[in-house]
């Protein structure tokens, strides 16, 4: 499943592979160590605090603030068709940090350092293969959470 994550994926195999399934269903998941309770976003299978390998996924709200950003004009292989694009680094409300694309709801001149944001799970709709990612949108943006495992 993790091969679905990102426009190009270099790491299809991981112990946290279900992250991508949850993302496809509209849920942003971090991890919590079942032994000591330490949480992490992005999720990690092996606890950085107590080294236990037992973890569970916990849902993050996706609310956060903008730590920094950049608009990329010189694209690497695999991204020539979407350049220019803007990367943002978001400090999440529940802790942790993520890197993602600035989404369509925020115009270039609306981007302000430390602004409040909402990270939103997304599916690449123009791709034949299943590809998922998350984007950075205006606070208050809502979306549907599915349950394909029904």
């Amino acid at each position: 499943m993790f091969q679905w994550f990102g426009k190009v994926n270099f790491t299809p195999f991981t112990k946290v592979t279900e992250f991508a399934q949850h993302l496809k269903d509209g849920r942003l998941m971090g991890s919590k160590c079942t032994k000591c309770g330490a949480t992490s976003f992005p999720p990690r299978a092996d606890c950085g605090t107590c080294m236990s390998g037992d973890f569970e996924f916990i849902e993050y709200s996706g609310r956060g603030t903008l730590q920094t950003y950049t608009r990329i004009d010189a694209a690497p292989t695999g991204f020539d068709d979407v350049v220019p694009y803007t990367l943002g680094v978001v400090d999440l409300a529940e802790g942790g940090r993520l890197l993602a694309w600035m989404g369509e709801s925020i115009a270039a001149d609306e981007i302000k350092m430390d602004m409040e944001l909402q990270v939103v799970p997304q599916i690449f709709d123009e791709s034949e293969e299943i590809k998922v990612y998350y984007s950075i949108e205006k606070p208050g943006t809502t979306w549907h959470k599915g349950d394909s495992a029904r």
């Binding site: 496809k24 269903d25 509209g26 599916i123 709709d125 034949e128 299943i130 979306w143 549907h144 959470k145 599915g146 394909s148 029904r150």
Partner: protein
């Protein structure tokens, strides 16, 4: 088998007679709110909506010409607003206008293509973004065994019915990742008003063709369609199920 359709909302095109009515009523019996369209026959359409309301569900008759892109868009928006949600689309409205090709007029061809094939495009297109956003949807496009085989005098109908099948396969691929199933039901001869005007000898010929020795009722089709509208068929997509009693194997 409990189809689990309680509280779902559906659109059925061509729901004021034949297979369409049977589908609308079957879905309503299973717990759905159902909206049907009508172009001219508002009395029949409203009667079906009444029957649905009488079952304790929401029934809605919406004036919409299936061959109009805008009408389809408007109807979907109206239904989403009235019912609060939309999970199911059954495209069923269609006509025949038979003739051998060397006599077929341009109007004959265009009418069948626009109502049948373009009509299915209009509605599939209008619901796609609704289903994608909700990450859930069931689409059943009703075709015909005459979209799978060639029938004398039906080049226009065959083109439209065959087109609906291929279109549905493409849509299954596009919408799958959003948890939307797109399937086709291909009936053979069905005992509807459309069929009642067929001469007896042709009807008998059809009976002889079927290995089960009978012509389908609208309910025979509606039951299969309802199954494909439910989560019982959650892992079936891009599929064609013939409901033809073995008329074409």
């Amino acid at each position: 088998m409990d189809l689990g359709l309680e509280g779902k909302s559906a659109i059925v095109t061509g729901g004021s007679r034949g297979i369409g009515t049977s589908v609308a009523l079957t879905l309503a019996k299973e717990g759905c709110n159902v909206a049907i369209n009508y172009r001219k026959s508002d009395a029949e359409a409203k009667a079906v909506a009444e029957k649905i309301n009488a079952m304790g569900r929401k029934g809605l008759a919406v004036k919409a010409d299936v061959s109009s892109f805008d009408d389809a868009e408007k109807m979907v928006a109206t239904v989403v607003e009235e019912f609060g949600s939309l999970e199911i689309l059954v495209c069923n409205a269609g006509i025949t206008w038979d003739g051998v090709i060397w006599k077929m007029t341009e109007k004959q061809w265009d009418a069948v293509i626009n109502i049948n094939l373009k009509g299915y495009f209009n509605y599939n297109r209008a619901v796609a973004s609704v289903f994608m956003e909700r990450k859930y949807g069931k689409i059943v496009n009703v075709s015909s065994i005459n979209g799978l085989r060639g029938k004398f005098g039906q080049s226009n109908y065959a083109a439209s019915k065959g087109g609906e099948i291929a279109m549905s396969k493409a849509l299954a691929k596009e919408l799958g990742k959003f948890n939307v199933n797109v399937n086709v039901v291909a009936p053979g001869m069905v005992m509807t008003e459309m069929a009642e005007s067929i001469p007896a000898e042709f009807l008998n010929k059809a009976v002889d063709e079927t290995v089960l020795g009978r012509i389908a009722s609208p309910e025979d089709c509606a039951d299969v369609i309802a199954f494909l509208c439910s989560d019982r068929s959650r892992h079936v997509t891009g599929e064609i199920i013939k409901v033809d009693g073995g008329q074409y194997i």
